[in-house]
Symmetry: C2
Subunit: 183 residues, 2 copies
């Protein structure tokens, strides 16, 4: 059993310095000058400007052939040159969650190429997914990206491709928060 | 956003009288003479002999054609004649959770006919699924069945079919708790 809860804490201090907070869809969140990410528990509630909690879970859409490709290309360790990071909390509409598994998979991959797009950018852009829909959080997912300063342009391309997809028509809240690592 | 947390509380009193507790695989749980089911929250921890928490979530394997059949045949209301109930908490092995979505779906339905077997017994046997793997509970799922006394034999057939399936080789903890409704 995994208890992989993580808190993303926006506050007056932290290990990542906030560069920008951009609300793309839905309600914004308050500005916090720094972020800390820490292992949490289901029950902890950090005091902060904002705190978002998520958990790692089993994969929900990825198929065997895709997992093999992802594992081959992914980096498992933090890279010292990855001083840029982005946190993207998103929520999807009830219409999305009412879809069946085959309908969601069809939109996710056959139409939107979510995994295929991501694969084009690894290992340069590292990505971790945290789930939060089922634990009463204001978002469904938190995605955390890390990359080096020379990979900012490819990262923008990755986001542009995903945001232009059919899948993204189901996103009803999205915030894009950029950080620089403090050294 | 749904906050559908439910507590299954085994205690000295309650609305369902325990008939039997049978541990099929793995560690047992203590005997409690009664059960209460109540809406809970993520953070509540009821005082009891045992308390199992689960949440309703989006469907994870069901496809469109299956959902249509399930919806046509399911009953949405509690039936007064359904005085028998069974709670089956199960946990699946890490080997199951390491599988990709297509591998799990293949075992779940192509090989094990999980949905097709269930469809044979609805509306007689009503069934509700609660998830608990991601919230640090000792089980991955709680399934709650309700049926009338004349449907005990079909219910046993349903369980026997599922337990004989390929999918069940991944179950590493299972307890079968039978109840009678207090009138």
């Amino acid at each position: 059993m995994q208890h992989n809860f993580f808190d993303f804490i926006g506050a007056e201090e932290g290990t990542w310095k906030t560069q920008s907070i951009q609300t793309l869809v839905g309600e914004p969140i308050p500005h916090a000058p720094f972020l800390t990410i820490q292992e949490g528990s289901l029950h902890s509630t950090p005091q902060a400007t904002w705190a978002l909690k998520g958990f790692k879970s089993n994969i929900r859409y990825t198929e065997k052939a895709e997992k093999i490709q992802l594992n081959q290309q992914s980096v498992s360790h933090a890279r010292v040159e990855d001083t840029c990071a982005t946190l993207i909390p998103i929520r999807k509409s009830e219409a999305w969650w009412e879809l069946t598994q085959d309908e969601r998979r069809a939109i996710f991959e056959q139409q939107s190429k979510h995994i295929a797009i991501g694969l084009r950018y690894i290992p340069a852009i590292s990505r971790q997914l945290f789930h939060c829909r089922d634990i009463g959080q204001p978002f469904d997912f938190l995605t955390w990206f890390e990359f080096s300063p020379e990979n900012v342009a490819p990262f923008e391309d990755l986001l542009a491709s995903l945001r232009a997809s059919e899948e993204w028509t189901y996103v009803d809240r999205e915030i894009d928060i950029r950080f620089i690592k403090l050294v």
